[in-house]
């Protein structure tokens, strides 16, 4: 150990108490510093907590605002959709109304045409019916007259034949009977057959009259069918309308 080391040791012996004194003197300063540090830390913590709280508050505010916006948007969206739908409904109603108007107009036009056609058809069909029935009646009448003439002729000739028989066989009753029976048979043949033929003719004419009548009975249907064609086809396609006429007449 050298001199310097000894000096050093001596120095430390001297300085140690001084240091102790200084430390003692510094102690309040340290305590105050500590307090300041503590205070600082507390403040820091408080500040941080405040920041955190503010942050949370802001975040929650933002979330609320966001939710509100979303809700508002949803409401607005829904309202808008409703509005659009109701507008479409209105438009549809307008369109329906327009269509209804058109339909009713065409119905009125249809009825008007139907009335016009009715007048024409009733006149024409009615007149034709009468005319044809009259002709059928005339036909039956003239045929009946012809049959009647034949029957009259047969009766007249039978009378003449009977006279001849009586003249020829005045005393032969047996012969008279045979010949008279032959005349009778001939006469009844012609009368009965003529009668049957007249009945058959009447039946044929009855059937014909029935067809003529059914034209008028089915007149309405006939006109309606005609009108359907009238509406379906354009004005200049009369050709097709007339081509289909045989189908239209339903008698």
């Amino acid at each position: 150990m050298g001199f310097f080391d000894t000096l050093k040791s001596l120095g430390s012996i001297v300085t140690k108490p001084i240091e102790l004194l200084t430390d003692w003197g510094r102690e309040p300063l340290k305590g105050r510093e500590h307090s300041r540090n503590m205070e600082k830390e507390t403040n820091n913590i408080n500040t941080n907590a405040k920041i955190e709280r503010d942050k949370l508050e802001l975040e929650s505010k933002l979330r609320i605002q966001e939710q509100e916006s979303e809700t508002n948007l949803a409401i607005r969206k829904e309202t808008e959709v409703h509005r659009v739908i109701s507008e479409i409904d209105e438009l549809q109603k307008d369109k329906d109304f327009q269509r209804m108007k058109l339909v009713s107009e065409s119905i009125m036009k249809y009825q008007e045409e139907l009335t016009k056609l009715n007048v024409n058809a009733i006149n024409a069909i009615g007149h034709m019916q009468l005319e044809l029935r009259e002709k059928a009646q005339d036909l039956v009448y003239s045929k009946t007259v012809r049959y009647k003439e034949l029957q009259d002729k047969a009766i007249k000739e039978a009378g003449e034949d009977l006279e001849k028989i009586l003249l020829k066989f005045p005393d032969n009753e047996r012969m008279q009977d045979i010949m008279i029976k032959a005349v009778d048979k001939r006469l009844s043949n012609v009368i009965d057959t003529a009668q049957n033929f007249l009945l058959e003719l009447n039946e044929d004419i009855k059937l014909l009259n029935k067809s003529i009548n059914s034209l008028a009975e089915g007149g309405q249907k006939f006109i309606e069918k005609h009108l359907d064609n009238f509406h379906q086809l354009p004005n200049n396609s009369n050709h097709k309308q007339i081509e289909n006429k045989d189908d239209i007449i339903d008698v």
């Binding site: 024409n120 069909i125 007149h127 034709m128 066989f169 010949m179 005349v183």
Partner: protein
């Protein structure tokens, strides 16, 4: 208006041509009944009426070749059919001309049916007349051959 009138006159001209052509070519529809029904006035007049109904309707067929003369044609046809004693009192034939055509067509077929019925009956009558005449002649022969 003039072109409409020309069209209208053409329709009537074409129809008249058909009428004269039918006579010139001795159409069966006209000439056959003249001989067939020379002793049957009813069937003769029914046949004539049938032919003329067809002739009237022919105008409607020719009319199809023309357009835009609906009203003129209807008016003209109305006057025309009246000359054939066909009664259409409503002057508005315009909308009903197809209908009118159908009615006339139907009339033609009814007339034909009537002629057919008349024909069948004529055949029956002829047969009956012949059978009667046959019976009568045979009877006369028999009576004459017997001695009294």
């Amino acid at each position: 208006m003039n072109s409409k009138l020309v069209d209208l006159l053409s329709i009537f001209k074409q129809s008249r041509e058909k009428l004269s052509q039918d006579f010139l070519s001795e159409s069966l529809e006209i000439f056959e009944p003249m001989f067939k029904y020379e002793n049957d006035n009813d069937l003769m007049s029914l046949s004539m009426e049938k032919y003329f109904t067809g002739y009237i309707n022919y105008h409607f067929e020719v009319f199809l070749e023309y357009s835009n003369i609906d009203i003129e044609f209807s008016k003209a046809m109305l006057s025309f059919v009246k000359t054939f004693n066909i009664n259409v009192s409503d002057s508005n034939l315009n909308n009903g001309k197809e209908l009118f055509y159908s009615i006339l067509k139907q009339k033609e077929s009814f007339l034909q049916e009537m002629i057919t019925v008349g024909n069948i009956d004529s055949d029956k009558f002829n047969k009956l007349s012949y059978l009667y005449q046959k019976d009568k002649t045979l009877f006369d022969r028999e009576l004459n051959s017997l001695k009294g």
